[in-house]
């Protein structure tokens, strides 16, 4: 400290000057001269003060420190007084003592920042929650870039004001922590700048404070009484979000949620966690694809840092391709989808990756049951960008080999995924990030079990660059370019002479500009444009091996352009009424080159009914579809604790997954709309009632009803062959669909036991009533889709026995999915054949599963270098034989029924977690 002063002294130039001072504003140089005449000696560099005028302090001159503080208040000058000597510095604080005591006596340092550092997205003036605010600690005058700041203060209980003893106060990265003393006092020294101060305490609800640590200062924190301190169960981020937000049908999932839901095979998965929330269904173990509010699996838009991911499944859908280690969180929109999202009918899964560690190099890894993983994060230089690389891969087929006797037994399965991200934030808060991602799956199955192909592999590749620019306090923009690629290869090699491979490839390149414009507390706008170019190679067939006489063959490439402009406005009419209105206008063109077929009116679309061929030039428009997509929602508060919300949205989808089975298969391919395949359009209206019960514990409840009307829902003729089909329209059927339901949810966020329970009644129906026999399914009446599950109940219950021991119970019940049964036989050409019922006229048995997770934490000593925990989980605790699917074979003259069970026994997994 003394050394620093000396240096300042050496470089300071002593200057004497004289001048006049004016009453309202004063010239600093002249004013200092006046003070020096009174016996003080100032040390400074003339350049710092030259030409600076400041207001005449309104403080008596005999209290010199106060006088000087006022004099320099609007300048970058700091001062330090040593008796008669006053040392001035420009933009450099002089720290004479580390004493916390000096500022503990002050109470005004805790200031709410209202401008300059905080932007509309981060600063919610409406919110009463301290978590939503940003606190400036210390004096901006004393801020040193790259320095350290000591924050101290008292932690108290919100209502009683009693001190909280033993509360953990820490920042996550780099990990620096402390705990509060018996009188609630704490002191923590951390890197200056923006920090998130986390606070945890037994019996208190976890909280955090967004802090800009400028210089040593005081921050008192009041904590809410709670009994759960660790692994709090919250799905919606905010306590009042349920009631106060205009948004409906939004589920937020963060890293904490991922941890508490019992994992399958020890692999935490954000998509699986989503299926424990209201209105999100999947078809059972190994069923790839998620059905939201009666929507088909291809109607969900999965975005990874804004770029679409086309196949989200690893390992037959047991896991998603999103590596939980690299994920910050996810927002799932089921209704009231904001206007800046488009392209899918049912939902948006907006997944954000972590911001790489900006403080220091860190690495983490893990050995799971199925995969091993590694993540490395590091900043590059001081104040430079930071980089993260995260990957995981299967390391043995051990697990698969244990799945004896099933379709998976003794099969060769492997996958990996890797994600790299670079992120940089400038001082003006502009941010730039680039994310690159690749996932790869490969498996080999005996040809007689599945689809008659043997080797499968598929790859997702995603690249996205995002730039966030802050124009001013009111306006900020996000600019994004992204490129997604999905491709698969399947191989048939049972007969060497006919061995071949089929390759499929899809590329989507998109650009988007998205603006947020805040016009005050009550009016906010969001607007922008987005354009996506699709390029699809639906199939390239190549002979495999020397002996193959298969002819190379290619399906024609397809390309299309989807563009949209959107504008939405949120207007808070009053405390009670908030309205949001948005319009997205989307425009799609299917483009040549290509050959289209024209079919006769008197027969179905089939190879035999082609009457003409049309050739399209490169970029010639084959078909154009466009239309407005209205997105409206509103919230009316009935009182402080309850509200009703109403929303309507229309969504349009121009790219369709040709999905012949209920579950997504690796051979399903995406095709774009063209002259024969119309876009799918859905209108959803939903109404919800939300009520929170506050008290010792907060209980959130909600009830939402929805009705969805869909046109041009894509389905298929019986026995449709979707692989390498040169005229895919001959296999496709389109018809109206409708889905409706009610979702009831109760959620308890704090207390010794927390959790949620959801019940959903939902129906999903389709009508296929064409003009020709093969286009009429079930006599042309509405019938249940293959993913129609009327009753769906799921719940998560987390009970905390002590600070170190907690238990989670997960329960799922669902009506069995519809299935088509044999109802008879028929004899033809001396062969016996199965006659099937109307499509989806029967159901498989109901599904019920219970999972248990027990978490044992190590000690919570702050100074302990490392923390560890054990997680023991049992998947399918009751060992119930849940039927995944039923299928029928002809055994001579008899029709034999069989059921496929994926996990018929409980699957216990023990996981050791270690953090440092």
């Amino acid at each position: 400290m003394i050394k620093k002063l000396l240096i300042i002294g050496l470089y300071s130039i002593v200057l004497h000057a004289q001048g006049q001072s004016r009453a309202d504003s004063v010239n600093l140089l002249e004013h200092i001269a006046v003070l020096e005449n009174q016996g003080y000696q100032f040390f400074y560099k003339e350049d710092w003060l030259k030409g600076i005028t400041t207001a005449q302090p309104n403080v008596a001159r005999d209290d010199l420190p106060s006088y000087l503080r006022a004099l320099f208040a609007t300048t970058s000058i700091s001062f330090h007084q040593e008796g008669e000597h006053i040392i001035l510095t420009d933009n450099t604080p002089i720290i004479t003592e580390p004493a916390i005591a000096s500022f503990l006596d002050e109470t005004v340092d805790q200031e709410l920042i209202t401008s300059g550092y905080v932007f509309s997205r981060e600063y919610d003036a409406n919110s009463e929650r301290p978590e939503d605010k940003t606190y400036e600690v210390g004096s901006r005058n004393l801020f040193t870039q790259g320095g350290e700041t000591t924050i101290a203060g008292y932690i108290t209980e919100t209502d009683s004001g009693n001190p909280v003893e033993g509360a953990l106060v820490y920042i996550q990265s780099p990990f620096i922590g402390t705990s509060s003393s018996a009188d609630g006092f704490y002191s923590i020294t951390l890197p200056s700048g923006r920090q998130t101060l986390q606070l945890q305490s037994l019996n208190m609800k976890n909280t955090y404070r967004e802090v800009i640590a400028l210089s040593d200062g005081r921050l008192d924190v009041a904590m809410d009484i709670d009994v759960i301190a660790l692994n709090a169960v919250t799905v919606s981020a905010d306590r009042e979000f349920n009631v106060k937000s205009t948004q409906m049908g939004l589920t937020k999932i963060n890293k904490e949620n991922i941890k508490i839901v019992p994992a399958i095979l020890g692999e935490a998965d954000i998509i699986r966690v989503a299926t424990t929330t209201s209105g999100v269904q999947n078809l059972g173990e190994g069923a790839a694809g998620i059905n939201i509010r009666g929507g088909k699996a291809d109607q969900n838009l999965f975005l990874l840092d804004g770029a679409p991911v086309y196949n989200t499944n690893h390992f037959f859908g047991f896991f998603s391709v999103f590596n939980a280690a690299a994920i910050e969180g996810m927002e799932l929109y089921k209704s009231g989808i904001p206007a800046n999202y488009g392209g899918r009918l049912s939902s948006v899964f907006d997944i954000a990756t972590k911001v790489p560690n900006k403080e220091k190099f860190s690495a983490s890894g893990g050995l799971g049951v199925v995969t091993s993983r590694l993540m490395v994060e590091t900043p590059i230089g001081k104040n430079g960008p930071s980089v993260m690389v995260s990957g995981r891969a299967t390391y043995s087929d051990f697990v698969i080999d244990q799945i004896s006797n099933s379709a998976l037994a003794n099969q060769d399965v492997s996958f990996y995924d890797v994600l790299a991200k670079v992120h940089h934030r400038w001082e003006n808060n502009d941010e730039f990030s680039v994310t690159a991602y690749r996932s790869f799956d490969r498996f080999k199955l005996s040809a007689d079990t599945l689809l008659s192909f043997s080797d499968y592999s598929y790859t997702n590749e995603v690249f996205t660059a995002n730039w966030r620019h802050v124009f001013n306090e009111a306006l900020q923009a996000d600019f994004r370019v992204s490129h997604s690629r999905y491709q698969y290869e399947i191989k048939y090699d049972e007969l060497a002479s006919q061995a071949f491979t089929v390759d499929y490839g899809l590329r989507e390149t998109s650009a988007m500009a998205n603006f947020d414009w805040s016009m005050g507390e009550r009016l906010n706008h969001n607007f922008g444009i987005e354009s996506k170019h699709f390029s699809i190679q639906p199939g390239e067939k190549r002979p495999a091996g020397q002996a193959s006489i298969v002819l190379p063959d290619d399906l024609e490439e397809e390309q299309g352009l989807e563009s949209a402009a959107f504008f939405s406005t949120q207007y808070n009419v009053s405390e009670d009424l908030s309205l949001q209105g948005g319009l997205r206008y989307s425009f799609f063109q299917a483009l040549g080159p290509g050959t289209g077929f024209v079919y006769g009116d008197r027969g179905p679309r089939s190879a035999t009914n082609r009457v003409a061929e049309v050739s399209y030039e490169n970029n010639e428009v084959r078909a154009t579809y466009h239309g407005p997509e209205l997105r409206l929602s509103g919230r009316y508060s009935l009182n402080e604790t309850s509200s009703i919300k109403l929303s309507y949205n229309r969504t349009r989808q121009y790219i369709h997954l040709l999905l012949n089975a209920a579950s997504i298969a690796p051979t399903d391919n995406w095709r774009i709309s063209n002259e024969h395949i119309a876009p799918q359009v859905a209108d959803q209206i939903s109404l919800g009632y939300y009520k929170n019960y506050y008290g010792k514990n907060t209980i959130e409840t909600s009830a939402e009803v929805y009705y969805k009307d869909i046109s041009n829902l894509v389905d298929f003729k019986v026995g449709a062959d979707l692989q390498f089909n040169k005229a895919i329209e001959t296999s496709i059927l389109q018809g109206p669909g409708r889905a409706y339901g009610v979702e009831l949810s109760v959620k308890k966020n704090n207390g010794w036991w927390t959790g949620w329970i959801n019940y959903t009644y939902s129906r999903s129906l389709i009508q296929l009533d064409g003009d020709f026999p093969e286009e009429v399914i079930n006599g042309g009446s509405y019938f249940p889709t293959a993913y129609d599950k009327p009753h769906y109940l799921n719940s998560i219950t987390n009970y905390k026995f002590s600070r170190r021991l907690s238990m989670t119970l997960n329960v799922v019940y669902a009506t069995g999915v519809p299935v088509t049964y044999p109802v008879g036989k028929w004899r033809f050409k001396n062969s016996e054949n199965i006659l099937y019922s109307d499509r989806n006229a029967f159901r498989i048995p109901d599904y019920f599963r219970m999972d248990l997770g027990v978490n044992i934490e190590g000690t919570h000593k702050i100074k302990k270098l490392a923390h560890s925990s054990w997680t023991f989980s049992v998947y399918n605790l009751l060992g119930r034989d849940n039927v995944y699917s039923v299928f029928f074979n002809l055994d001579g003259e008899f029709v034999q029924g069989n059921k496929l069970l994926v996990f018929k026994d409980p699957i216990p997994t023990l996981t050791y977690n270690f953090s440092f």
């Binding site: 006797n405 379709a407 019986v718 054949n833 496929l900």
Partner: protein
């Protein structure tokens, strides 16, 4: 938790499996089935009209009283007569012609059925039918040794690319202890049989849809198409085995239809099972597309190959026909003067031979060891060498 190490241990094992599934279907729907074929063979062509069978039923309900005819693209008509219940046939000297178009019409009650015009496509010659000794994987995970009969066909690229096959197999049954003498209990007469009950012939037609296509291949060739598998434990290849195989040149639509029907009958029970349902062929009800009709009107040119195989053909490959000799233990020797008593007690026995010192006693055995007619026809087929 920015840094963490995760070590997972799987304690138990995973079990996934298939198990029998009992299902109950109370309702059943009767759907019209039309099995119609018209070829370039000179014969009485047949159309069979029936209803589908309930799951637990066995007998087909045939539909009588229909009016059936084929409209030829030259405007002529080929009429069908109901020869037995539900079976409609042309005159015996009718033959189709390659290149011509045929449309099937039928009126069944109030329903008028019609098909699109189907063209008879030119077929390609069959190279050969041959057997190969191999181990075939079975559904239950085991393998079975035996002879897989395969077919190769090759022809010009402009001929039909899709084919259906059916076959008639015949094997000779040779009983080691076939009866050579007969006993008349009423007259107590012992007589040498004109035709001993040693050699019989069992004939059976194929019972599944066999289809193949060369579409997508550089050549119009059907290579190593598996026709029939005969296991070492089967009867067929113990003596002589005849295959008469017919190849039908079908349209690609017919091929697709048969493929869909086959796929509907066979399911692997995978994660990705395809949608099951009723598959519509080329027969429709005029004016009401919502009434489904099962079956197909197949128009095809036919060629045929016939070959006879003996176990010796495959001995070098390692083929061993397994044969059980339990009958040896079932034989008995009865003095001729006690035959009356014996047949009084065991009327369903037969005399194999007379063997021993004169008067030679009769060697007798149960019918299952001595009468080949239990297993086939005693009359030798025309083509048998």
């Amino acid at each position: 938790m920015s840094n963490y190490l995760l070590i997972g241990i799987l304690i138990g094992t995973l079990l996934g499996c298939t198990a029998p599934f009992d299902f109950e279907v109370l309702e059943t729907e009767e759907i019209l089935v039309v099995d119609a074929s018209f070829t370039n063979e000179t014969k009485a062509h047949t159309v069979t009209i029936s209803y589908s069978i309930p799951l637990d039923g066995e007998d087909q309900e045939l539909v009588s009283g229909a009016n059936v005819w084929i409209e030829v693209d030259d405007g002529s008509r080929i009429e069908f007569e109901e020869t037995s219940t539900g079976v409609y046939q042309t005159a015996p000297n009718v033959a189709g012609e390659v290149g011509r178009g045929y449309t099937l019409h039928a009126t069944v009650g109030d329903l008028a059925l019609v098909t699109p015009q189907e063209t008879m496509l030119e077929t390609i010659p069959i190279d050969s039918v041959y057997g190969r000794y191999l181990a075939l994987p079975m559904d239950n995970g085991t393998t079975e040794l035996g002879i897989q009969f395969l077919l190769d066909a090759r022809g010009d690229i402009d001929k039909a690319r899709s084919y259906r096959f059916d076959f008639i197999e015949t094997h000779q049954i040779k009983l080691r202890f076939g009866s050579q003498y007969s006993w008349d209990q009423e007259t107590s007469t012992l007589a040498f049989r004109d035709t001993s009950l040693i050699d019989c012939y069992f004939t059976k037609a194929s019972e599944e849809l066999l289809i193949s296509t060369s579409a997508g291949l550089a050549e119009n060739s059907i290579v190593e198409f598996p026709v029939r598998f005969v296991s070492e434990s089967d009867e067929q290849l113990r003596t002589r085995y005849s295959l008469i195989l017919k190849q039908y040149s079908i349209s690609s639509s017919a091929y697709d239809y048969y493929r869909e029907v086959k796929e509907t009958n066979e399911s692997a029970g995978s994660f990705f099972d395809e949608q099951r349902g009723l598959i519509v062929g080329n027969i429709a009800v005029e004016g009401d597309p919502s009434i489904p009709v099962l079956g197909y009107f197949e128009v095809a040119a036919v060629n045929e190959i016939r070959d006879i195989f003996v176990p010796g053909d495959f001995l070098d490959d390692g083929f061993k026909a397994r044969r059980s000799d339990q009958c040896m233990m079932s034989l008995d020797t009865v003095p001729q003067n006690e035959l009356g008593d014996y047949f009084g007690n065991f009327p369903s026995s037969n005399i194999v031979i007379l063997y021993g010192f004169p008067p030679p006693p009769a060697v007798v055995g149960p019918r299952s060891c001595t009468d080949c007619r239990l297993f086939g026809e005693i009359n030798k087929p025309d083509f048998w060498p």
